[in-house]
Amino acid sequence: MDLGGINPAVLIASLMVASVPIILAAIGELVVEKAGVLNLGVEGMMIMGAICGFATAVGTGSPFLGFIGGAAGAAALSLVFAVLTQVFLANQVATGLALTLFGLGLSSMIGQGYVGIKPPATGDVPFGPLEDIPFFGTVLFSHDWVVYLSIAIVAAVWAVLKFTRTGLILRAVGESHDAAHALGYKVVRIRVLAILFGGALAGMGGAYVSLIRVPQWTDGITAGAGWIALAIVVFASWKPWRVLLGAYLFGGITVLQLNLQAAGATIPVEYLSMSPYLITILVLVIMSSGKGKAALNAPASLGQNFHASR
């Protein structure tokens, strides 16, 4: 099966890998936003995860510990955001942007000794004979463990939000913090935990970039992936599975346009290179006009600070 010289199985397999950092960061941010907090500092947390993960993996020789380190580093940074917005009631938009600025600077300082080092390699999960199944072997059984983990996390977040009490409380806090407070829930504590969770996942996304996707450290390695993750959350209208869809769509078009170029397609490159953004917008327009209310799915308290006056 060939589409203009491009093998669809290989294409799908590539886009699954390309989308992992965005999926992880976006699903984390989704939980944060579900709790009513808008953290625009995803890019800063991702790059902190990228350097902390890299440093840990190089130091310990274990990529797995690297991911833990990346998650911890980014969660620590997100704690700054949590304290500022939840305790000091600072504006969330501005604090998030400042977090990105701070994260970019701090990561570069930590990373000064790590330029030009190769981290320990992460191999693909061995599936034995399954890998040889035509098409599905390439698409489903040729990846490293984080690819599967990212999908599992999406499923878990979906299930928790939909079926559990924890999910219900989280959504209540995001929809109306005053009502949730009146019901006796610790709004601030829940939000801080959500922010830490979002930070940890953004950090894992960053670590995926520096440990697997582009195994190296350089300044600014995440190159704007955090912003795309933010856009994907909105694109998904705060629904977990749509995060996966949005990230695959975006990653898919990015990979496809490069493949089209490599295959010598005659579409002008400048249009190809802006296509991921335009098509994402287009799909969102179709989705929101068709359903009418897709864009109104935002948590009602999103971006508002909570102060228990009573």
Binding site: G111, K118, Q216, D219, T254
Partner: protein, 365 residues
């Protein structure tokens, strides 16, 4: 010298020029303050990193006789002009500006400080007597890479990850292709335009796209090691080259050789000339011969005969007996560019906006 008191008052710039006149007399200097303006972070592992290595070499060479200062992450445009002016005000005797986008700011500031020397990398404007330009003939290195690529490819498909459609990049593509073709007439070149100098994830995707298309030798004109890392995942099936820095961590394969930007010889030479009073305006465009372009070690992943041929080509270019653009060469549309035996004039190369015959696709514009 009472720099501070002289500069008091509004017309600081005018005074600064007079002052500079006293400091940079033709007899040379006791001590020179040398400024470097970088477009990226030193930690980029590529372009800026290599310039900073050159700066450190200057310090190493002259010790106490020089003081080096530098500024990273300077955006092109208004910010560059300000950083340059502040460096000039701080008493630098010579300032190297290391990105094409600094061209107009460099010339504008040079006009205000006629006695401070300015050196602009990769540009062509020398509007004032105190502005020099310098560049490196990277296409010479591309020729050696092209030869290795043509010999090494098994699929007869080779790839090139390009940044932006500018002469510098197109020169490299043409040189790479011509020599690959000469080594292996069946070779086909796939070009992917990343439209970025630095985006590791995108570079990795571009490399992967090329590999998916059956390409097994990848050259890149973007700055990160991501394409090599992607090639490394194929367990030796795909090879590539280090770009800007040696990228030795990917030796012996996939990195089979590299083009190293080595600015140290030029920086040391120019600062030396300033110190001993022999400094003169220049338009330097040196390559393998001058040491600006270094061919990183060709590893054992390359068969000995190919390695010997590549090294012979390198030495011939260095000796001046071989020019990578030697006719007959036609343009992509079949029209003649260079006649039999003719070599490309520098002017043609510096404005090169066409592919040579045999490359498919169009240059984006």
């Amino acid at each position: 010298m009472k720099r501070r008191t002289i500069l008091k008052g509004g017309a600081a710039l005018g005074f600064a020029s007079m002052l500079g006149g006293k400091m940079a007399l033709a007899q040379g200097l006791e001590k020179a303050k040398v400024g470097f303006v970088y477009v990226g972070p030193i930690g980029d592992g590529g372009w800026t990193f290599q310039h900073h290595q050159g700066a450190l070499a200057v310090q190493e060479a002259y010790g106490d006789k020089v003081e080096i200062v530098w500024q990273e992450n300077v955006p092109e445009g208004a910010d560059a002009e300000r950083v340059l002016t502040q460096m000039a005000l701080s008493g630098c005797n010579i300032i190297f500006t290391t990105s094409f986008g600094f061209m107009d700011p460099t010339n504008a500031v040079a006009a205000k400080f006629p006695d401070i020397k300015f050196e602009h990398a990769t540009g062509y404007k020398r509007d004032h007597a105190n502005v020099s330009t310098y560049n490196a003939r990277f296409y010479e290195g591309r020729a050696v890479q092209g030869h290795i690529a043509g010999k090494m490819t098994k699929s007869n498909k080779i790839g090139y990850i390009a940044s932006f459609p500018i002469p510098e990049v197109i020169m490299g593509i043409n040189s790479y292709y011509l020599h690959a073709k000469k080594a292996n007439p069946a070779v086909e070149l796939s070009i992917v335009w990343a439209f970025t100098w630095f985006d590791p994830a995108k570079e990795a995707d571009a490399a992967k796209a090329l590999i998916d298309q059956g390409v097994d030798v990848i050259a890149s004109h973007t700055d990160s090691t991501a394409p090599l890392a992607e090639a490394a995942k194929t367990n030796g099936a795909v090879i590539g080259f280090g770009q800007a820095s040696d990228m030795a961590e990917y030796k012996p394969s996939p990195r089979v050789s590299s083009i190293i930007d080595n600015w140290a010889p030029y920086y040391v030479k120019r600062v030396g000339a300033l110190l001993d009073g022999t400094y003169a305006q220049a338009d330097a465009w040196e390559g393998i011969a001058g040491g600006e372009v270094e061919i990183g070690e060709i590893t054992d992943a390359v068969p000995a005969d190919v390695k010997a041929e590549a090294e012979a080509m390198r030495d011939a270019i260095a000796a001046g007996t071989y020019h990578p653009f030697t006719g007959p060469i036609n343009k992509q549309d079949g029209s003649a560019w260079l006649a039999e035996g003719a070599t490309a004039p520098d002017g043609d190369l510096l404005g090169m906006m066409f592919y040579v015959e045999g490359i498919t696709g169009e240059i984006p514009s």
